[in-house]
Symmetry: none
Subunit: 197 residues, 4 copies
DNA sequence: TATGAATGAGTTTTCATTCAT
DNA sequence: GATGAATGAAAACTCATTCAT
């Protein structure tokens, strides 16, 4: 309070960032629970005790890391989208934005996938993240009004429109699939065919 | 107890089965590492030491559980499929078989998803599982020859043809989606539209 | 269950006894919380993990140690008392039994005193211990009926009849008081004067 | 804050007082070591570092708190005693002063009891506190010369004269004893009977 | 084969204390 | 003097695994 009247060590945001990055790296490498607080601390170049200044406990650290990762991806995906262009064009822009975002940040993507498939996911309030996708929701709604997008449950559109991209990314990691331009274009076409009226 | 009345063989297999089921249940509930060997042992009504008679170590237990789960699902999916019917009809049969299999065994499905998204997956040789899907591979190949299925990378066909079903199942768990007949039919149609020529 | 039909390592009562003794010794030396589980384990010549086989947690260990100590003292105090002798003689026997018990086991006594004056005491159900003192209660009641003992609240009788003995024992530890025969006789006389009618 | 309106000296002493009170409250509630310096600091509304300006370390804080508590009680007990009245009347005055002091400040009393029964007590020089009780010592000495008080070791007089009061206070906390006027009068009578010639 | 006991190495977390301002 | 950040060391407790029977 009124910190300008007092002198003290100040909160070091770089340290927090280092902790986030260390958590992501180690969770991706060792798995969710083998990534111990000590290892994360060491990788972030801080004392284990320091993590507890910024996070309540391990779960809190992981949840906050997940939210950060999801927000950052969402923000990358939706930045610079022209909402007034045709639904098909907008979908294409977003789809490739998405694809580029997750291939640019595969560590973020891997962390989020591991997290979302583990039991911790149940302790996250998804509302906060959903807010980021309002733009997408309204785009699909417009497409349905215009008779361009299938008149089906919204989740089917999301699921066929975007998530197979994640699967293909994982397939490429185990060398079952290569992310050539042709393959990516084919994947986009399949997505579009799945959701268009 | 009552060991007089049972053959050695029978008793063993029941124990192994109990261990598998305990592992699946606890991993689903607590996550990979919170599901400790002692807890699994207790849930399976055996001593921790007994697990080590049947499995080399914890990793071995988890990997074998994963393989068992995957095989069981695959076998359910592909049983009773008439290979000679039209590609579209066969795809439809397999798709609904798949859907019915994973909804009937959601605990198997959840375990497999968590496993496949964690770093342990890297220590599994997928060849063994892939063998189960030879039938699907040749079905898609025939569809492509007949000009009915898109001429794209095989993984795109799998990814759009089947995996979104998993996502929708997860969505239904968090009550974002309901598995009504209409929704499932819509999902199937989206899958077919995505892969058909 | 039916352990004679099974073979396994059996519960080692000597180990439990060692743990109790180590806990008493270290708590007396270092205080309640500086007596760490690791130190207790080391002093008892077992692994820290072994303590957790026999006790739920540190609090459980301390509470059980306290109960053991109290029971052992109570049993020593009341053994061999002839209930039919005069109230004064019985009180004298018990008083000196008590005195001899706690001077013979000063470590038990010190542990109990420290415990009873710390907040943990609130988590102990005293009923169990009180049961041991039924004999004393009925002795005092008889004394009151016979007009030999003051007709005052039972706790006053206990408090003046026995507890000053503890204080004097503590005083002797810091060399403010010596436990000479005369002093002990004087102390007994003061106790008796305090409670007799 | 508001530092303009207060002298340095005043602000300091208030802080120290807050620290003392926080220490007493937390030690009574959580025990000696669970009352951590950080928690005490928070309860006292200061930084942990601030405590170290006034106290060398945790032990120093606890010892100084104990001495403060003991002095304050002693001073309350002995204030306003007329030394020239009869020994019996003076004893009665002091006894009830004592009783009123500790029932008015049960948190001080509890802290002192916990402290005095833990091993830290060994690092306190009791001489300083004893000085406060010179008046009592000389009163008992006069009583012995006058043949009114038993000719026994001084500690027996203290122990039976005053300390049972503490035990009864503790008993009342666990609802084994109620501090009714009659009970307190009975307790006083027992004390007097124990020490009078 | 099967067991419950046992454990060293590890976990998360908190502590008393110091640092930098 | 006063602060919140920072930390090495240690706490309680758990784990995967082995032992002894």
């Amino acid at each position: 309070m009124f910190s300008y009247f007092r002198s003290m060590r100040t909160r070091d945001e770089q340290k927090v960032e280092n902790i986030y990055n260390a958590a992501i790296t180690l969770v991706n490498r060792d798995g969710f629970e083998s990534a111990s607080m000590s290892k994360i601390a060491k990788a972030a170049n801080v004392s284990p005790a320091t993590i507890y200044i910024y996070f309540d406990n391990k779960k809190d650290l992981l949840v906050k890391t997940y939210l950060k990762v999801k927000k950052e991806i969402a923000s990358n995906v939706l930045t610079g989208i022209d909402v007034n262009q045709s639904v098909e064009k907008a979908f294409r822009s977003i789809w490739f934005n998405y694809y580029n975002s997750i291939t640019a940040k595969t560590d973020y993507f891997n962390f989020a996938e591991q997290f979302a498939n583990s039991p911790i996911i149940n302790s996250v309030n998804n509302k906060e993240i959903d807010a980021y996708y309002e733009l997408l929701i309204s785009l699909f709604a417009r497409g349905q009004q215009e008779g361009i997008i299938k008149n089906v449950h919204r989740e089917i559109l999301f699921t066929y429109g975007f998530f197979p991209m994640f699967t293909l990314l994982k397939m490429s990691k185990i060398e079952k699939f290569d992310l050539s331009d042709k393959n990516i274009d084919d994947a986009f076409q399949a997505a579009w065919d799945a959701i268009r009226a």
